[in-house]
């Protein structure tokens, strides 16, 4: 038996009756102060638009070099994959694998899976394998770290600033844009998609 109009705080197990929220309002648990749910700022249409925009930003971030370094008349530039391959070659394979997973594979997979569920949902259909995709999305979320990598780019650029001339290139702007878009996307409560899908199935 399902109880639809309740919400349970995942931090302290308190039970509340759901009440509709106004714009920008957040329902907090009276017991422990954690957020229970927030006003839905973005709908499925916006989510889909953000996903498509993020995919473009992802491509820009990954095909263009992140920065160019000039010193003593020589220059070098690198994009994410060159950085990952360089870590493998210089004997830090675990670090290369970590960067590949958290900055490339998980964000890319997240975006593809979002597109895969959102497009049919927008057309009032539940895609096949919906459960599996949603579980994958939930489990990947903490391990996608584009925003941390973006900060890493800034630190690296400044660190090198006094030994060489560093020019941020298109890749950096791609990552900056991707960081912004993914932050918006990840503010979406995945449970809303579950509710939407089960409403369609009913």
């Amino acid at each position: 038996m399902a109880a639809a109009n309740l919400v349970i705080c995942k931090y302290c197990d308190s039970v509340y009756q759901r009440t509709p929220l106004g714009r920008r309002e957040i329902a907090r648990c009276a017991q422990c102060g954690a957020e229970l749910y927030h006003y839905r700022q973005i709908d499925v249409d916006t989510m889909l638009a953000l996903t498509v925009a993020s995919l473009f930003a992802f491509v820009i971030a990954n095909i263009f070099p992140i920065a160019m370094l000039e010193a003593q008349g020589r220059s070098s530039e690198a994009n994410l994959w060159q950085a990952i391959i360089a870590s493998f070659r210089s004997g830090a394979a675990p670090i290369g694998a970590l960067a590949a997973t958290t900055v490339f594979f998980f964000p890319l997979l997240q975006l593809c899976l979002f597109a895969y569920v959102l497009l049919p949902l927008r057309l009032a259909q539940v895609p096949s394998g919906f459960n599996w995709v949603m579980h994958a999305l939930r489990q990947m979320q903490p391990w996608a770290m584009v925003e941390v990598f973006m900060l890493g780019v800034l630190v690296a650029v400044v660190k090198l600033g006094d030994v060489a001339t560093v020019t941020p290139l298109a890749g950096t702007w791609g990552f900056a844009l991707l960081t912004l878009l993914l932050t918006l996307l990840n503010s979406y409560d995945l449970r809303e998609l579950w509710d939407r899908a089960s409403a369609l199935n009913a």
């Binding site: 210089s90 970590l98 941390v148 690296a156």
Partner: protein, 224 residues
Amino acid sequence: MSAESTGAAPRAQQLGLIACEACGLILQAADDECPGYCPRCDEPLRRRKRDSLRRSWAFLIAAAMLYIPANLLPIMRTQQLLERYDSTILSGVALLWHNGAYDLAIIVFVASIMVPVLKILSLAILLITTQRGSQQHARERTRLYRIVDYIGHWSMLDVFVVVLLVTLVHFGALAQVQPLPGVIAFGAVVVLTMMASMSFDPRLIWDASAARSDPEPQSCATRP
């Protein structure tokens, strides 16, 4: 704004309710010992995270042990002509500060040194107080957990900086940056502390004196 502001809210366990941790569906659990599987998303239903305290301790102890080589071993080697310079995390921060990049020195110091230490200490405090069945400061402890859980992955910053420097500084014999084992240990610390905080179940804080240890695993029938 609070959803309900008067009096203490009832707890799901008392009402026999259970929320699916994957899809958020709330159910009246028919069998409290063996709640079975979520009818909507097929995820096994659990009142509390499985073996929360044990698993969290295991990850935390592993992280604390690796924290020592992560900070003592150099994370990268900078080679310029005949000069060779190995830097640890702390010396990297000192160099940024010395070069006048105070803001970044502070960011790296916070992300790479303060956050991992505070995270390990906070999780240890949470685990110990929960195991002792402490009922004090439950609200503050829950907030501490939320903070720890939220900031965890930002410590990966230094790992990414090394990855970037290794590729960008690539001028053959003139100048080169090489990663050293310290950075692998550091990456492992970040991953392990993240897993420790994911394994911890903050609801145990509120389970009063009942939660002195993990509930024994039930032998439930497997999926029909």
